[in-house]
């Protein structure tokens, strides 16, 4: 009966998949965050706000963590018996691992790898092993050579022991095939003890049979319900202001340091772009037209000065030029319309 139930469930799952992907039409409302009369939060204010918000169910979460902490000595035993430990479950496991480190690994050589850190690479992990642990100065041609060197040293010297703690083994930077291969080989050394945490739902997909047997995992479910503070702080969320695109504050900042005429030029371009915002095929303002308009407004007196001004804008990433199909240069401001509107309003206030 149970099997039949399961089959039915499986069938439902399949149907649900096709239901979800049946039509390419998207049935959601067209509202955007811009229309929401609310300022976008930046990283700092977000952090401050969250720090003040109380964490729900703190007592229960503490109980949970205490349960996990009681396993520490067992982990040590199992690590020494040749297994490696991987933690999964909801919630940040950073504090747990940190607790493990401070309570048990204080006196032994250990290496902490913050996998969520966006610029971490396998090479940096290997480097810290060769440089800090093995005291070897010198470079290697490839990570494979480096790995070979480490393997040799650890096999020669049986007194060497190293604990490696990896937060978020499944992070963007470490989930590649080659990195995982190297880490797996590293973890298969008998005197390197690896304890790692994973969060992504598809994390186990990165390991094939060979890697799994190198890793020799023991799985531990450690659901902590702790917020992922450090882990998500590097993730450019959709709702937080993105540093990559131009934000209003930086726009204002740059423009305030320019001459009056230069601001006028930018204003002109912005106004023109806003007028044409409903036209999806608007390619931008061509240079010739723009020059004409600027001359009429007495903002520039020659072709050359306008070009110089535009170069300055381009250096500050305020405008972008695009060559159209007819070979003419078109100018646009790579900022979304609402920010531009806000900018013009602010500008009007100032004047």
């Amino acid at each position: 009966l149970a099997k039949k139930n399961k089959e039915q469930k499986m069938g439902n799952l399949v149907e649900e998949y096709f239901e979800a992907h049946s039509s390419s039409k998207v049935l959601t409302s067209d509202r955007t965050l811009q229309k929401l009369r609310k300022r976008r939060l930046d990283q700092q204010t977000l952090h401050d706000l969250l720090k003040n918000a109380p964490l729900a169910y703190a007592a229960e979460i503490r109980d949970l963590n205490q349960q996990h902490e009681s396993l520490f000595s067992k982990w040590m035993l199992q690590l020494h018996l040749g297994f490696n430990i991987v933690l999964y479950g909801l919630g940040s496991k950073r504090d747990l691992l940190e607790k493990f480190r401070t309570s048990l690994l204080q006196d032994s050589v250990h290496l902490v790898v913050n996998g969520y850190f966006p610029s971490i690479t396998v090479r940096s992990i290997l480097n810290s092993i060769t440089e800090e642990v093995l005291d070897h100065i010198g470079t290697f041609r490839s990570p494979l050579d480096q790995l070979e060197f480490i393997t040799k040293r650890f096999k020669e010297d049986s007194s060497l022991e190293l604990y490696v703690l990896i937060h978020n083994l499944d992070s963007q930077m470490l989930r590649g095939e080659r990195s995982q291969q190297i880490l797996a080989q590293l973890s298969s050394l008998p005197s390197i003890y690896l304890i790692a945490s994973i969060d992504h739902i598809n994390a186990p997909l990165m390991w094939d049979q060979a890697k799994l047997s190198l890793y020799n995992w023991l799985w531990y479910e450690t659901t902590t319900f702790n917020p992922y503070v450090e882990e998500t702080s590097y993730e450019n969320s959709l709702l937080v202001q993105q540093s990559g695109s131009l934000a209003l504050s930086s726009l204002m900042h740059v423009l305030h340091s320019l001459t009056l005429n230069a601001r006028g030029i930018f204003r002109l371009l912005a106004q023109y772009q806003l007028e044409k915002k409903d036209n999806p095929s608007y390619p931008g303002l061509s240079f010739q037209d723009f020059y004409q308009q600027c001359r009429e407004a007495f903002l520039v007196n020659s072709d050359l000065t306008l070009r110089a001004q535009l170069t300055e804008f381009r250096d500050h990433k305020l405008i972008r030029t695009k060559r159209g199909a007819d070979g003419v240069e078109y100018l646009i401001i790579p900022v979304d319309d609402s920010t531009l509107t806000d900018f013009l309003e602010k500008e009007d206030e100032d004047v």
């Binding site: 998949y17 199992q78 909801l90 060979a210 799994l212 479910e221 917020p227």
Partner: protein, 622 residues
């Protein structure tokens, strides 16, 4: 062998890639001892290009040559591989120098085969995982080495995980025609499993035993997931670790000779532990009241009793294994194998519950009652052999009984031979005479009548007797382990723990935590049944539940609004509308945090398809 062909051995090894390491290590050792000192083992991950491959190959050949040589001549130059240019000519010149040297030196060397079989020993190159090599590298290597096959006698060995077809799929015809391929099969991994179970579990050598559930988990992982013997062994190791870590009485899990010493060194607490064992309590309940009191209060009496019980347990296990093998002899030849073909299935069935109460056992006995004589005799002989091999005296009687059966069968044979002639006119012969349909029917009916009322022959009587005897043996010795007293000491039974550690389901854990947080957070407020969204749950659970209701794309604004509605409903009673803007911001921030956590967990990802939308990466209710 044709001109320029490279002799090649293709080993079909099966999909359990994790076990191949051991196979190859064994193979290269054997080759090194018996045939040639020049064996190189290449793995795909070390050879992304032909250059790396040559480098690796030369490094291994020269190093392994130095290893073998180092005992004999100290002055063998430790050539660093980096200095030589890694190319075929340098490999050949190295090979020439090595073989020359061994030729010119004293021919009485025991190691080198150059004087024995070959003028020059072959160089063996093993490709460990043929499937994962890039075709370009393989092709190049084969083409290059086929050019030099005269100067450098290469032999290639391919380790193949899938099927020999892959050679032709990986190598185009011009390249594969350069090879002279001979195919070799390896043992299937199921046979390895049977060997392991036979040698590791079904012996009385090791005091540690696996319970039924645990064994089932291990076998299932093997048969349904990976076919990997190494993983099976890892699971077994984990069982041992878990057992000796978590069970305080596992000190008593030892060989028969040590039991006495260990039992008498038990402390009072440990004695209490024994008293707490469920199987021991059952045992106590069955004793009379005077003994009960003694057992529960007097430590030294308890120790004596424990020692006896543990010895019983050892004896039980020894007998169990022998009888199990005997029963297996019977059941493994029955049609359709009601109790399973392999001894492990029988073992599981016996451990699970009383095997003689199951339907399968019933039907297999029925089938056994229909066995013919020759089969029955050979089986009995096998049983006698098995029982004779056991060390205990327990089976003397059983062996005698079986032998008696055997002689009876022999006597029967003689008797039957003399009887044969008398009953030669069988009813079938009469049947052939009739042609009339009516008569035919009548005789058939008569035949049936007669058969029903026919008395059993001597053989059949004997057969019943044998089967009944086997049945009685089964009933006596194959009692499942968890009905024995103190079985907890020897048997590891925590299957759930094992499954959790070996075959975890991170996705299910996440789903449970997000869907029903009360499973983890023991708070009364979270106990909320029904499919709705509890507004008291942690933020991420609310956001997750809201996201479950969406299709493929999710509008962030709507999502945010739904979230704030739910959260506001929870806070309404105690919010005094102090600063709605402030509250709004906090909710907004919490929402951002929850959404970015979901993104980290891989449930959603940003989508460019529509502004301010995210794409959902899962479907349905999970």
């Amino acid at each position: 062998m044709k001109f320029r062909e490279i002799p090649t051995a293709a080993l079909v090894l099966g999909v359990n890639v994790t076990d191949h390491d051991l196979t190859f290590r064994g193979l290269s050792d054997v080759l090194q001892d018996n045939i040639t000192p020049y064996v190189a083992l290449l793995e795909a991950k070390d050879c992304p290009g032909i250059k790396n491959l040559m480098q690796k190959l030369m490094g291994q050949l020269m190093k392994c040559d130095i290893d073998v040589d180092s005992l004999e001549d100290e002055d063998c130059v430790q050539v660093s591989q980096n200095k030589i240019r890694c190319s075929m000519p340098s490999l050949i010149s190295w090979y020439d120098s090595v073989t020359k040297k061994t030729d010119s030196e004293t021919p009485s060397k025991k190691r080198n085969s150059s004087s024995r079989h070959w003028q020059s020993p072959p160089v063996v190159v093993i490709f460990k995982d043929m499937e994962s090599f890039t075709t370009k590298v393989l092709q190049d290597f084969i083409v290059i080495s086929s050019q030099h096959i005269h100067e450098l006698p290469l032999v290639l060995i391919f380790g193949i995980a899938t099927s020999p077809m892959i050679i032709h799929r990986l190598l185009p015809h011009p390249v594969s025609s350069l090879l002279c391929i001979e195919l070799f099969q390896s043992l299937s991994c199921k046979e390895h499993l049977s060997t392991i179970i036979d040698k590791l579990l079904l012996t009385s050598q090791f005091p540690f035993k696996l319970g039924e559930k645990v064994l089932q988990v291990l076998i299932n992982i093997f048969l349904y997931h990976d076919f990997s013997v190494q993983n099976f062994i890892k699971g077994f190791q984990l069982c041992i670790v878990e057992h000796f870590y978590s069970q305080p009485l596992s000190v008593l899990c030892c060989h028969l000779v040590d039991i006495k010493k260990r039992v008498y060194s038990l402390s009072h607490d440990q004695c209490e532990n024994i008293r707490r064992l469920p199987s021991f309590r059952r045992y106590v309940e069955k004793q009379d009241s005077g003994k009960q009191i003694e057992l529960l209060t007097n430590d030294s009496f308890l120790k004596e009793e424990t020692e006896k019980l543990l010895e019983d347990l050892h004896v039980y296990h020894e007998n169990y294994v022998q009888i199990l093998r005997c029963l297996h002899v019977f059941t493994s030849s029955l049609p359709k194998y009601p109790l399973g073909k392999q001894i492990r299935e029988l073992h599981c069935a016996c451990l699970e519950n009383r095997v003689w109460e199951t339907e399968e056992y019933e039907s297999s006995l029925q089938l056994a009652r229909m066995l013919n004589k020759t089969d029955l005799v050979t089986m009995l002989q096998q049983c006698v052999e098995i029982l004779m091999s056991s060390s205990g005296k327990e089976f003397d009687r059983a062996v005698e009984k079986l032998k008696e059966f055997l002689t009876q069968f022999q006597n029967l044979e003689v008797a039957e031979a003399s009887q044969e002639r008398g009953v030669s006119v069988s009813p079938q012969k009469e049947l052939q005479k009739k042609t009339d349909l009516y008569h035919l029917q009548k005789t058939l009916l008569e035949l049936k009548e007669s058969r029903r009322s026919k008395k059993l022959t001597k053989f059949e009587m004997l057969r019943f007797e044998v089967v009944d005897y086997i049945d009685s043996l089964v009933r006596r010795y194959l009692v499942p382990a968890d009905e024995r007293t103190l079985h907890e000491i020897m048997y590891f039974n925590a299957a759930a723990v094992l499954r959790g550690h070996l075959n975890a389901a991170p996705r299910t854990a996440l789903h449970t935590a997000l869907n029903s947080p009360h499973w983890y957070l023991k708070n009364q407020a979270l106990r909320y049944d029904g499919g709705g969204i509890s507004n008291k749950a942690p933020d991420i659970c609310i956001v997750y539940k809201l996201h479950l209701e969406c299709g493929r794309l999710i509008n962030l604004v709507d999502w945010l609004e739904a979230f704030s509605t739910v959260v506001m409903a929870a806070e309404e009673p105690n919010a005094d509308e102090a600063s709605s803007d402030q509250v709004d911001d906090v909710i907004h921030a919490r929402f951002i945090r929850a959404v970015s956590e979901l993104e980290l967990l891989g449930f959603i990802k940003p989508s460019k398809q529509k502004t301010d939308h995210v794409a959902r990466l899962t479907w349905g209710g999970c």
